[in-house]
Symmetry: C2
Subunit: 229 residues, 2 copies
């Protein structure tokens, strides 16, 4: 099917659970990667004023072209199931340039992990990862650990202990389930650099009320295998 036909086949008014045609990862991943490069370059560039003005003009024009046909509202309100469900996510999203992105893997013991690189765009104190960025990534990792246990939930509490500064560069995040009580999953995890853990995290993730019924479970369940694809 050609692209124009795929778009035409989409309902003109997409409901909250409408599944729009998925764009292909080979198209969107390089586009998003190039924007990550752009974000990093804008933090660090030392080019002259004219080049900055030119870049601004050109980027504004590209953004307008991409906005010429776009989902109203947010991504998650349109793409509720399937492998594209998490593509908008600010930590793991294939189409979100805020995401480093983390590619999360899981082993048989239920431990989830990701190895990734953080550059200048994630800096807090000089040369170190912003404390809030560590929290952002660990929230996702802990949430994925809870989901891997079969009970995907929303963050109820999150506690972070910063043992030392986390250097920018190559890092690893790990998460695992401590125990499950009804709709609550108690999880823990940490960020690790070459010398060991830098930030430790604990959290309670709660299956939301709307997802506790059979229909809700089915919707969450449909999305699950792809979350780790």
């Amino acid at each position: 099917m050609r692209d124009a036909e795929k778009v035409a086949a989409r309902p003109s008014v997409a409901g909250p659970d409408a599944v729009v045609p998925e764009y292909h990862r080979p198209l969107l991943a390089p586009l998003t990667d190039s924007i990550r490069q752009l974000v990093d370059a804008t933090v660090r560039t030392e080019v002259d004023d004219d080049e900055l003005r030119r870049a601004h003009r050109e980027i504004a024009a590209i953004a307008a072209r991409l906005q010429a046909r776009q989902m109203p509202g947010s991504y998650g309100q349109r793409v509720a199931a399937g492998s594209a469900r998490f593509w908008g996510n600010p930590v793991v999203g294939v189409r979100n340039a805020i995401a480093p992105p983390l590619v999360i893997e899981y082993d048989d013991s239920g431990r989830v992990s990701a190895e990734f690189h953080l550059g200048a765009a994630y800096e807090g104190p000089s040369g170190l990862v912003h404390g809030g960025v560590s929290a952002l990534l660990l929230d996702q990792i802990l949430g994925d650990a809870a989901a891997a246990g079969g009970k995907p939930g929303m963050t109820g509490t999150l506690t972070l202990r910063y043992r030392r500064g986390t250097p920018l560069g190559t890092l690893r995040a790990e998460g695992w389930i401590e125990r499950v009580e009804g709709f609550k999953t108690f999880v823990a995890g940490h960020l690790v650099d070459a010398d060991g853990p830098t930030v430790e995290a604990e959290g309670i993730f709660v299956v939301p009320r709307w997802a506790r019924g059979e229909a809700g479970s089915r919707e969450w369940g449909q999305a699950m295998p792809d979350r780790f694809a």
Copy 2:
């Protein structure tokens, strides 16, 4: 002074505390804003494959042009003082497209606050702010509250309680000091939507060892007034 001269005047090998020439906010703010639009558009766009490919090619070319002359390493390792110190910051940075950005204000009571808008790029569960994004923003707000009390520090601990989902849209964050013990500042804060608090936070921010001496205090002190400029 013309731009080419400003760049030429910079030391050819910038040390960790070198102050590079500041680019002007009127140049960098619109550029970064246009990249924020691009990030949001890439999450939501439904344009055809050819347009995605074309956008990718053009953005990669712009990024390469900005990278043609840039700081080696991270921003904070080069810009250690002055009003541009926080421009690379992923929550408040004028030149960081990851930042919404938050424009933090403070009142006489020492309370810091920011009103801001979060769109599709910050989404976790459908229509709601990603739990880790709430943590990212609150870490910054609490850190700024500690700094406003005269003791800027790094995050020691951060505890978040999610009372309910935080809807995407216009939000407010607030932070304040609970008490100070030596080099530790105990702070609290929350995210608020039209119906009240959605996420509550507590944290301990610690003045790092290297900043406790006179020289260190002076360096942090120099940067302070601009942090809230």
